[in-house]
Structures are given as structure tokens and as C-alpha cells.
């Protein structure tokens, strides 16, 4: 029993760009929400988390893609998780060695990348059916989309909640920080607001496309 049948697709620019907008893991597919909410109280944490997740995503999905013909179908999920856990352990030790401050700030959430459903989801839905090249490009795109989402939350929360960006104070001394924004409820509120914006833009696009179709029909 070998893996799932291949449905090879051509590598285009769209393979990469899809992850940024149409299949954005956070804003559109609502995957991997826990780190999105938990570590975005400052922009630098958000960036580090995004990069770490991107590395694990690309590395583990490449391995899954390479081994897709050897992994028996029945135990594939367990295999994927073990592969992901291996890379997460690597990242965990690497961050600990590079910056202990960052490691303490992110806390358990580095190890919790293992259970980020985005990574397992991509392994199951994409990497297990695609050749290595497409998987890497798509993984980079999804990772970039994830990092972008984390950053957009992190910047808003840091600016409003502590009046700084990447640790640099933006406002004068008299700035009264909106503390709730760096606390847990702020994460929910900011993410809700971003989802609202995304849904609103999406709806407008849909309406415009419908109008164009109607116009084409008329002419």
C-alpha cells in the first residue's frame, strides 16, 4: 500500500501567491489560531514565531513530499506528526541557543508548533500529493501568509497596547497605552477586526465580479 496518488500541478507564481491571499491560513482558512493569538502581543515575537513556523512547515512538508510513496496510507497522520515533531525539536533547541530572551517570551508556544493544524493540514492536503518543488514553493507561500497575519496582529497590538513598534517607542512620554490590547482579550478583538476587514473586502470583490458578469451578459 503506497501513499495517495499524485495530482501534479505546474509550478506557477500562483503556487506561491495563493498562500498570501486566497488560501491565507489565518484569515481565510482559520488554521493555527492558537499561536496567532498567543504570541502576537509584540511585533518581534510575532515575526519570530512566523519564521519558526515557516521553517517547520517547509522542512517537514518537503520530507513528507519526498517520502510520499513510502508512507503507508493507514499510518500517514502519525508519520507526519513524528516528522513535524522532529523539526520542531530542532527549532526549539536552535532558538534556545540563539536568543534566550526570545525563547522565554515565546514560552511553550515553540514546542506547540507541533500541534499547529496549519502544518499538518498542508502535509495532508498538499505535500502528500505533490512533488518536492511545488511543495517547497507552496510551503513558502503559506508560511509567508502566516507570518504576514501574525505581523499584522502583532504590530496593531504593540502600537495600541504599549505604544511602540519592534521595541522602539513611537509616541511621547504622555502616551497612555491601551493595556487591554496586549492582554488576552485584545488578541481576540484585533483578530476579529482583521477578519471583519477581510470578509468586507471579499464581499466587495464578489459584488464587483457579479456586476461585471451581469454587464457582460447585457452587452
Amino acid at each position: 500500500m503506497s501513499g495517495l496518488p499524485d495530482t501534479t500541478e505546474n509550478i506557477t507564481l500562483d503556487t506561491f501567491l495563493r498562500g498570501l491571499w486566497e488560501e491565507n491560513p489565518v484569515f481565510v482558512m482559520l488554521l493555527g489560531m492558537c499561536p496567532v493569538l498567543a504570541v502576537t502581543n509584540s511585533a518581534i515575537n510575532a515575526l519570530a514565531m512566523g519564521l519558526a513556523s515557516t521553517f517547520v512547515l517547509v522542512a517537514s512538508n518537503s520530507l513528507v513530499s519526498l517520502m510520499r510513496h513510502f508512507i503507508p496510507k493507514q499510518v500517514r497522520i502519525a508519520t507526519y506528526i513524528i516528522i513535524i515533531a522532529t523539526f520542531v525539536t530542532m527549532v526549539d533547541y536552535a532558538i534556545q541557543a540563539i536568543s534566550l530572551d526570545l525563547y522565554n517570551a515565546l514560552g511553550a508556544f515553540i514546542q506547540l508548533i507541533v500541534v499547529n493544524c496549519m502544518i499538518l493540514g498542508r502535509a495532508e492536503a498538499y505535500a502528500s500529493k505533490q512533488p518536492l518543488g511545488a511543495t517547497i514553493i507552496n510551503g513558502l507561500g503559506i508560511g509567508a501568509g502566516f507570518t504576514l497575519a501574525l505581523l499584522s496582529l502583532g504590530t496593531v497590538r504593540e502600537i495600541l497596547g504599549s505604544g511602540s513598534l519592534f521595541g522602539v517607542a513611537l509616541f511621547g512620554e504622555n502616551f497612555q497605552p491601551w493595556v487591554v490590547m496586549v492582554l488576552p482579550p485584545g488578541g481576540f478583538f484585533v483578530l476579529g477586526a482583521w477578519l471583519l476587514i477581510f470578509a468586507w473586502v471579499g464581499q466587495h470583490r464578489q459584488q464587483r465580479m457579479n456586476q461585471q458578469e451581469v454587464a457582460q451578459h447585457d452587452s
Binding site: 482559520l30 488554521l31 489560531m33 492558537c34 499561536p35 493569538l37 498567543a38 497522520i77 502519525a78 506528526i81 513524528i82 515533531a85 522532529t86 520542531v88 525539536t89 526549539d92 533547541y93 514560552g107 511553550a108 514546542q111 506547540l112 507541533v114 500541534v115 499547529n116 493544524c117 499538518l120 487591554v180 492582554l183 488576552p184 482579550p185 485584545g186 488578541g187 481576540f188 478583538f189 483578530l191 476579529g192 477586526a193 477578519l195 471583519l196 470578509a199 468586507w200 464581499q203
Partner: protein, 196 residues
């Protein structure tokens, strides 16, 4: 109550540092299974059970790994234990309650990737809890998860009758609701020492 008594750890995990609303663990099932109150209830029970089993196993595994000085395998071992515990729950539920099994659907196997469960195992290791403390911690975390899920399900059932703009329907509205709940739970923060 002192900071390492069993009751304190239980309350701390269930209410003060609620896993979902204060520590953002287990958000996916929190958003996915909170549409109806009865599915939320059975999901909560399943999570409590898996948490308890995996916490006990994680305690044993950690003891063994430390003895052989191979702590770097911790993460891989924990996730394997959790995956098998979930499998166990799935088989039991399929046999004794097929209706419930269908209602939970895809979210049952997804308990494996519920970060709350791995979170319990990792936190109890990093805080060096004893065996009874670990059990209290995992039970508290499970109860806290169930409380959050039930509250959210109740709110969302009422929301069905409310008129909201079409843009904010679905995920955005749910996030706002979760934010309000989280704000309410912040009121408990003064009750105990925060673990961040």
C-alpha cells in the same frame, strides 16, 4: 491555600488562567465545536478524559526520559502518547455511542492536534509538578476548557436569533464574543499568581 496545593492548582488551571480564554490553547475546537451545547458538552468530556490519560502517561514518560537522560525525545514521545489516547477514545465512543461519534465528526481525531492537551503535558513538566499535582492540573485544565466551550456554545445559540450585519457573521463575530468572554475572565486574574 499555598501556591502548590492541589486545590489551588486545580482552580488556577480551570478559572484564573483558563486554558482557552487566558492562555489561547485549544482555540480550534473552541471555535469549531461551540455551535451547539450538547456537542460542546461531549467534546468537553472527551477532552477532559484525553487530558487526564495523557497527563498521567506524560508524567511516567518524563520520569523515564530523565532517568536515561534523553529529554530531547520528550516532544515526540508526548505527541505519540496523545495520539494513541485519542485513538482509544475514538474507538470507545464508536462502540458505545455512534450518534455522538458522528456529531463530533472530524473534531474527534483533531483532539490530537488540540494544543491544550500537549500544553498540559508540557506545562506540568516545565513546572515540575508531582504526580497528584499533575492530575489536579490536567483535570482543572479540562474543566476550564469545558466551561469555556459551554459558555461560548450558549452565547452562540442566542446569537442565531440576533440580527448582525452580513459581513460580521461567522468567524469575526465569534472572535468578538470570545474577546468579551476573555475580558470577563480577566476579572479572576486577581485571585492567584499568574504564570504568564
Amino acid at each position: 491555600m499555598t501556591a502548590d496545593s492541589v486545590g489551588y492548582i486545580f482552580m488556577n488551571a480551570a478559572i484564573v488562567n483558563n486554558f482557552v480564554l487566558a492562555m489561547f490553547l485549544g482555540i480550534c475546537p473552541f471555535l469549531g465545536v461551540s455551535a451547539k451545547r450538547d456537542t460542546a458538552w461531549s467534546m468537553g468530556l472527551a477532552v477532559i478524559f484525553v487530558m487526564l490519560v495523557s497527563s498521567i502517561c506524560a508524567y511516567g514518560i518524563n520520569w523515564m526520559l530523565t532517568r536515561f537522560e534523553i529529554e530531547y525525545l520528550r516532544l515526540i514521545c508526548y505527541i505519540a502518547v496523545i495520539a494513541s489516547a485519542v485513538q482509544l477514545v475514538e474507538m470507545t465512543m464508536k462502540k458505545y455511542s455512534p450518534a455522538l461519534f458522528r456529531a463530533l465528526g472530524i473534531f474527534l481525531p483533531l483532539i490530537t492536534t488540540n494544543c491544550a492537551i500537549l500544553g498540559v503535558a508540557l506545562f506540568q513538566t516545565s513546572r515540575e509538578y508531582s504526580f497528584t499535582q499533575s492530575v489536579a492540573f490536567s483535570l482543572g485544565a479540562g474543566v476550564g476548557f469545558t466551561i469555556a466551550l459551554m459558555l461560548m456554545a450558549g452565547l452562540r445559540q442566542h446569537l442565531e436569533l440576533a440580527k448582525v450585519p452580513s459581513v460580521s457573521q461567522g468567524a469575526a463575530m465569534t472572535m468578538m464574543l470570545a474577546g468579551l468572554l476573555s475580558l470577563a475572565f480577566m476579572g479572576f486574574a486577581g485571585l492567584g499568581a499568574s504564570h504568564g
